[in-house]
């Protein structure tokens, strides 16, 4: 069923809340933390107004929020939660338990840096820290993508070949609190698209006794981990199938990543999240000057589409891989490290640099992205070589 486009305006947090309203999940345990607090707030209001019949569980910490979400999911419910930053950090133990128990939980993550120094602004250190927890991670450039991605999350998570939790990420404040134009989709086609959740196995199934999360001896544990890893590989196909179906309803195109003027680009910036909107303006400005600039915007980080990205970048002369997250590894950030490895495997010989930007909400202007492209043109000519990965806009 195709949906009409409903043109309106709202913030990224409102957009996710609207997605939750259309999905009407069974259970949402949550604990408030800036900048994601508005999401459970909006949901609680919708429940109070009788718009949805989700069971909201106010809990005393994020550890409990994740535990309750996991418990609800294991019991057979469609369960979601929302958090940010140290809230996600406090869920750590349960993130792994949820994923390894193969529970299709969906989380709205509003990206905010981890302390310290203490700061409330956008950074990817929260979700990037959890990148190896076995969750699918999908990132959003703006309110529209936060909404569209959230609508697709349950279909991916609950697919029989996947059965993994999904976090839908957007940049704290930059998109979560910015009111912008957005196109919403009608309730009926969305309800039909998301569908009812009918799990095959669950704790409250009367005629099937089962355990969730028991001890596994070393003789079995490794096979479980391989099965989990295989599910992440399977997710690649499912993510594209779900995106295709979403496109049929809405006309919106989604994949592992977006290529913006990348096809003939000599110089490419690879980035995640809201900075990609700013980078598109920079690309357009440089194209007007005859510089072949392009952007690769990463949407899906887990599973990591390394091979596909490397192929898309194959003809570039120089590439900047942008990280909004320090790894303190003395080897660059997480996107830098993983994409560099993928470029090597695909024998991409372009000059490449990992750039640290936007930490703790440091503002990134169009001119800043232009500066990165300027580095790339110099790198391609052999006029510039970084001995350490650079910090964009760092003050002396």
């Amino acid at each position: 069923m195709k949906s009409k486009a409903i043109k309106t305006r709202m913030s990224g947090n409102e957009a996710v809340a609207h997605a939750i309203k259309q999905i009407n999940p069974d259970v949402m345990p949550a604990f408030p933390i800036t900048p994601s607090t508005e999401i459970p707030q909006f949901v609680a209001s919708m429940i109070a107004n009788g718009e949805i019949d989700t069971e909201f569980i106010p809990v005393e910490s994020e550890h409990s929020a994740m535990s309750a979400t996991m418990g609800a999911s294991a019991a057979g419910a469609r369960a979601i939660t929302a958090t940010s930053s140290c809230g996600l950090a406090l869920m750590w133990e349960m993130l792994y338990v949820t994923a390894s128990s193969r529970l299709p939980v969906v989380m709205a993550l509003v990206n905010r840096g981890l302390t310290g120094p203490l700061n409330i602004n956008a950074e990817h250190s929260d979700s990037m820290g959890a990148r190896d927890a076995g969750w699918i991670q999908i990132y959003s450039e703006n309110n529209q993508e936060a909404y569209d991605n959230f609508l697709q999350a349950h279909r991916i998570a609950e697919h029989k070949d996947v059965h993994l939790p999904v976090m839908i990420c957007q940049d704290g404040f930059i998109t979560s609190h910015a009111v912008q134009n957005i196109t919403l989709w009608e309730d009926e086609p969305i309800k039909e698209f998301v569908g009812e959740y009918n799990p095959e196995h669950y704790l409250l199934k009367e005629d099937e006794a089962m355990a969730v999360g028991p001890y596994a001896v070393s003789n079995y544990c490794m096979e479980e981990k391989k099965a989990h890893a295989q599910a992440m590989i399977n997710a690649k196909k499912v993510i594209l199938e779900v995106a295709k179906e979403f496109e049929e309803i809405t006309g919106q195109k989604y994949g592992f990543f977006e290529e913006y003027k990348l096809e003939d680009a000599d110089f490419a910036v690879v980035a995640i999240g809201s900075v990609c909107g700013t980078a598109k303006d920079a690309v357009d400005k440089l194209r007007e000057q005859g510089i072949k600039a392009g952007l690769l915007k990463v949407r899906v980080f887990r599973p990591f589409p390394g091979e596909e990205m490397a192929k898309a970048l194959k003809n570039c002369k120089a590439i900047a891989i942008m990280d909004r997250c320090e790894s303190y590894s003395a080897n660059g950030g997480p996107l830098g490290a993983e994409l560099m490895a993928a470029l090597f495997r695909e024998k991409v010989t372009a000059e490449a640099v990992n750039v640290m930007y936007g930490l703790s909400g440091r503002d990134v202007r169009v001119e800043d992205v232009e500066e990165v492209f300027d580095w790339l043109t110099k790198m391609a000519k052999g006029e510039l070589k970084f001995t350490e990965y650079p910090y964009l806009g760092l003050r002396d």
């Binding site: 998109t175 609190h177 912008q180 134009n181 900075v275 700013t278």
Partner: protein, 193 residues
């Protein structure tokens, strides 16, 4: 009007500068524009200086940075003129709008040599006449629409009435007071240079 109008709001936490920015984005959307309204969060607390921004455009807005060279600046609290460089980057062809009970002679020397147009409004007076309480964001919103010309003032009033009717369906007196404040503010903005 140029294709993109950028506005920066300066206020103090609790005065509604963020709300005014979001309301302006909202009403500009109603008039068919692409909009972006967002706050810049620091250590937010009552009384601390805060900044909020609006982009209003005829085409899609993709950039997500703060605004460094605004077309217009709104100052919700004139005590900020002593502590914040409110005219930083403000375009000469643009204008600054300041909420104050002071005279132009007192305000003009505080603008760090800004050479563009200066508008003053006494939002306290407007609020007391119409609302009986001090909510400077309401008159400032109307005044900014008039100063920036991002939309026709009649269209603005009509859209505000529709949106306030919806918001205060059960409190018609609030609607009436706010509409009076908006109309009075449109008349009370004074260009002093």
């Amino acid at each position: 009007m140029s294709q993109l109008t950028e506005i920066r709001w300066h206020g103090r936490g609790g005065q509604g500068a963020k709300t005014a920015a979001l309301l302006l984005a909202d009403v500009a959307f109603q008039s068919g524009k692409f909009v972006q309204g967002f706050p810049e969060y620091g250590p937010e607390r009552m009384g601390a200086p805060i900044t909020a921004y609006d982009r209003i455009s005829d085409t899609e807005i993709r950039v997500h940075s703060n605004i460094y060279e605004p077309d217009f600046v709104a100052v919700v609290d004139d005590t900020l003129l002593h502590t914040v460089d409110v005219t930083a980057g403000l375009k000469k062809e643009g204008a600054i709008l300041i909420n104050t009970e002071k005279s132009a002679d007192e305000i003009l020397p505080l603008l760090n040599g800004y050479e563009g147009k200066v508008f003053l409004i006494n939002a306290y007076h407007v609020c007391m006449e119409t609302l009986g309480k001090y909510f400077p964001n309401t008159p400032m919103l109307a005044a900014m629409v008039k100063v920036s010309k991002v939309m026709d003032t009649d269209v603005f009033l009509k859209e505000m009435e529709t949106s306030l009717q919806h918001k205060f369906a059960r409190k018609p007196e609030v609607l009436e007071g706010n509409m009076k404040a908006l109309k009075l503010a449109l008349g009370e903005v004074v260009q002093c240079r």
